[in-house]
């Protein structure tokens, strides 16, 4: 049986604002699942809280719509406990880098084999338009009435610098490329990070589709995603051009590779024997 995108569609109609970038991400994700012909019962989509974090609710797969900022540790728990399951963690830029920011570097360092998709709209959508850690300096919002003072976090550069073994960027306005990127992220062995530029049409009147459409450009054809420093540099280009594509990719032992090695080495024991060995 070959599955189609429809096989992953849940009963619930997405409750995003018409035009929200997150629709594109949902479409591309279903496309990618179909292309990989994954069993919906063998996928777990884990999210935090935010507009973007509602995504699991619109799919027919397993999912956890958890707490604000906790998607990554919950997702890691799922994968560590049940490594056969395809784990896709999703959420917003605030979820990932503000309240959840403490978990990110460790997830990357561990290189657990999961995919993390951050829908970056450079704003807090669900709570109606406050400044986010990805917002530009001087950006005015309801919670930054005099403009933002803080240097924005660049998700792809951040991911690479804390050790992600796969880091890419897509745009929700380009669903085909996004589908390819999601497929690449899922098939990558290890922690795969994907930033998706996903405009909030309701609250972010500066970083609109139009704004991005003019800047978004695939990485040059000759670009090789094997040099960290170069990758970080390219990810940081943000003025006239914003690159999309795979910035960095590295083969490395996953957390499970290590676990498997250990399990081979230890002397197995039954729980009863373990208890009896205490003396």
């Amino acid at each position: 049986m070959v599955r189609t995108a429809l096989d992953y569609k849940g009963k619930l109609k997405p409750t995003w604002c018409p035009g929200c970038g997150d629709f594109g991400v949902l479409t591309a994700l279903f496309n990618a699942f179909a292309r990989l012909d994954l069993d919906p019962n063998n996928i777990a989509i884990v999210s935090g809280i935010g507009c973007s974090s509602r995504l699991p609710g619109f799919a027919s797969t397993y999912g956890v719509h958890s707490l604000h900022g906790r998607a990554l540790p919950i997702g890691q728990g799922v994968k560590l406990a049940n490594p056969e399951v395809e784990v896709v963690v999703v959420g917003g830029d605030g979820d990932a880098f503000a309240i959840g920011g403490g978990h990110f570097p460790h997830a990357a360092r561990r290189n657990i084999d999961l995919t993390y998709i951050v829908m970056n709209n450079r704003i807090y959508g669900l709570t109606k338009g406050q400044v986010a850690p990805t917002s530009d300096v001087n950006f005015r919002t309801v919670s930054s009435p005099y403009g933002n003072f803080e240097e924005p976090i660049n998700p792809v550069a951040f991911a690479i610098s804390v050790g992600a073994t796969f880091a890419a960027r897509g745009f929700s306005g380009k669903v085909d490329q996004l589908t390819d990127l999601i497929v690449a992220a899922i098939t990558h062995r290890g922690f795969a990070f994907l930033e998706v530029i996903s405009p909030c049409v309701t609250f972010n009147k500066v970083h609109t589709y139009k704004y991005f459409q003019e800047k978004v450009t695939p990485l040059p054809a000759e670009y090789q995603p094997d040099d960290r420093t170069k990758a970080i540099e390219m990810a940081q280009v943000m003025q006239d051009v914003i690159y999309t594509g795979i910035f960095y990719r590295q083969e490395k032992l996953t957390y499970h590779d290590w676990i498997s090695k250990i399990m081979e080495g230890v002397r197995p024991v039954t729980p009863k024997e373990l208890v009896l060995s205490q003396k």
């Binding site: 009963k11 619930l12 919906p40 019962n41 063998n42 996928i43 777990a44 884990v46 809280i49 699991p56 609710g57 027919s60 797969t61 397993y62 999912g63 956890v64 719509h65 958890s66 707490l67 906790r70 540790p73 919950i74 997702g75 890691q76 728990g77 799922v78 994968k79 560590l80 406990a81 049940n82 056969e84 399951v85 403490g102 978990h103 460790h106 676990i259 250990i262 399990m263 230890v266 002397r267 197995p268 024991v269 039954t270 729980p271 009863k272 373990l274 208890v275 009896l276 205490q278 003396k279």
Partner: protein
């Protein structure tokens, strides 16, 4: 057989290996078939504070580490000054005359012994002073050398043969010195007897192994005194039973991972102390709302905030029962002694699966590092309850994970198998779809609370002993059991035994058992190692009676005589 009941206390500078010496003595005694019971106190500083280890060994059941000591080993003047007053009349003081100047006391037996000098000059390793001390004690009190060597072998075998050799030498040097120079007194003989195999275990180890036995195959934790060894033991042992353990970046991540792992189908646990439990508050609510079973061990220490990290207290009951915003059902249980740590942990997993709620197990510092001799469990009689999993047929018939049922339970889908659903921290309807309808919130809240009934049905959620006819009762929880038993044993001898109820299930409280107990009571004492009388509060609120609280702000466990005094006051 002659009755043996000996209390040994070793005091000195933290970092001199006092705990190690104490543990070696303890294990050797236990292997020589004694009941053992230990207590330790050490500062939060790694160095520079005072450290103390106490072991009681007897050939009859014991319930506390003992109030007065038979043998005091003082490695420095501070140890002597702090502890000499706890020595029984006719007790023994072992000390290094170079660093301790004892009073001139006629009622004590003084055994001066150049411990430092022996370690330095005869073993050529100052850090073996602790093992030299063990050697001296072994000779003086006839602790079997073979058991000691066995334990030292196991303990230092992995540290390279050089270290092991030094330690074995140190043991011999100490024994030899004592043999040559110290005339032995007969009344303080321990010696060896041969008996059945016993298990010697600390509260933390009992929890770790209880979890493994209950089927836990995922553990995530962050180091914190006094819970850290649960993490350390499971980092080592989990791969041997095919499970996964991980040290993570903080306690929030630890509980989140455990919840994720449980969602994915594995029984999962985390272990922490008060500060970590506080950090987990929001996630406790999530597990409750999303109905994901998970076990959280809180090895209580002195609070609030960082508090007294290395001291015992029973002051996290309020947070365990009430912490987390919203109306948030959860199960709270507490073991009463080291052995019970094993059984309550299994119980915790059973209740987690049975109610699909988070379960908090409240242990404490005084249990955590205490070694006790326990009987080999009767494995066949231990019931392990497994998860209610949705079948493919049920899925085919239209499965709703959160459908409202009479007892509140629905089977869970497990990723990888049919039954896909969304676990959610937002309020939701039967299918898991978010719903902000007040009516749905009402029935869903009722349903989640209804599941608590499933925890109340067992008989073993309380423990009762003593004279049921007595109008004086004691209700308590957790690690005060030992001190209360000491007190009631003495009263029994006098024919004045009160009635005692230990509550092991603290949320929801077992209504029937408590009401039964209260029927004929005029006065009920509630001893707790906390300031605010947290169990007293719960009893007042749920049973509308006025108990007599007996509180200690914490820092140390109750002594038997303190409980006894209070009962005598009330009688």
């Amino acid at each position: 057989m002659e009755k043996v009941d000996l209390v040994v206390r070793i005091g000195g500078e933290s970092g001199e290996g006092i705990i190690v010496a104490g543990e070696i003595l303890t294990l050797a005694c236990a292997r020589a078939s004694f009941e053992v019971y230990t207590y330790r106190a050490y500062p939060a500083e790694v160095r520079g504070g005072h450290s103390m280890f106490q072991m009681r060994a007897a050939n009859a059941p014991i319930f506390s580490a003992g109030d007065l000591v038979d043998i005091l080993v003082a490695l420095n003047q501070e140890a002597y000054d702090r502890h000499y007053s706890t020595l029984k009349k006719g007790g023994v003081l072992v000390y290094d005359p170079e660093s301790v100047k004892p009073h001139d006391r006629e009622d004590l037996i003084l055994y001066p012994c150049p411990l430092k000098d022996l370690a330095l000059n005869q073993v050529q390793a100052i850090q073996t002073k602790n093992i030299v001390t063990v050697g001296v004690l072994a000779e003086l009190f006839s602790i079997p050398q073979d058991k000691l060597e066995e334990v030292i072998q196991e303990r230092f075998g992995s540290k390279g043969s050089q270290i092991l050799e030094k330690d074995l030498l140190a043991l011999k040097v100490g024994m030899e010195y004592a043999r040559q120079n110290i005339p032995k007194r007969e009344n303080l003989k321990l010696g060896g007897t041969e008996g059945e195999t016993r298990i010697v275990i600390s509260g933390n180890a009992a929890i770790a192994l209880g979890a493994v036995y209950a089927g836990c195959r995922f553990f995530a934790g962050y180091p914190i005194t006094p819970a850290t060894d649960i993490l350390e033991i499971l980092m080592k042992e989990m791969p041997r039973v095919g499970g996964v353990s991980i040290q993570v970046e903080d306690e929030i991540s630890a509980l989140a991972m455990a919840i994720g792992a449980s969602f994915a189908g594995k029984k999962a646990m985390t272990a922490t102390s008060g500060p970590g439990l506080s950090l987990m508050s929001e996630l406790i609510g999530f597990a409750s709302m999303a109905e994901i079973p998970v076990v959280i061990v809180d090895v209580q220490r002195g609070g609030p905030a960082t508090g007294l990290p290395t001291k015992t207290e029973q002051s996290d009951l309020f947070h365990a029962v009430f912490g987390s915003h919203g109306d948030c059902p959860r199960v709270v249980i507490a073991p009463t002694n080291v052995e019970d740590c094993f059984y309550q942990t299994i119980k915790g997993f059973n209740l987690a699966e049975r109610t699909q709620l988070p379960v908090i197990i409240l242990s404490d510092q005084s249990l955590s590092h205490r070694y006790e001799t326990i009987s080999v469990p009767d494995f066949d009689s231990i019931k392990v309850e497994d998860r209610l999993i949705v079948s493919p047929e049920e899925v085919a018939q239209g499965y709703q994970r959160y459908r409202i049922t009479e007892n509140g339970l629905m089977p869970m889908g497990i990723p990888g198998k049919p039954g896909a659903y969304i676990a959610r921290g937002l309020e939701h309807d039967g299918e898991g779809t978010p719903s902000y309808d007040p009516g749905i919130h009402q029935v869903m809240t009722e349903k989640r609370f209804r599941k608590l009934n499933l925890a109340q049905n067992d008989n073993d959620v309380t423990l009762r002993w003593g004279n049921q006819e007595s109008e004086v009762g004691i209700i308590s929880w957790g690690s005060t059991e030992g001190a209360v038993r000491e007190a009631t044993n003495q009263l029994k001898a006098r024919g004045e035994e009160p009635d005692v109820l230990y509550i092991k299930l603290l949320s929801p409280l077992p209504r029937k058992q408590i009401e039964d107990f209260l029927k004929n009571k005029k006065k009920v004492i509630v001893p707790e190692v906390n300031y605010s009388g947290q169990l007293s509060h719960l009893l007042r609120a749920y049973f509308l009676f006025d108990p007599i609280p007996l509180n200690l702000a914490g820092g140390r466990p109750f002594a038997g005589y303190e409980i006894l005094k209070k009962i005598e006051e009330v009688l």
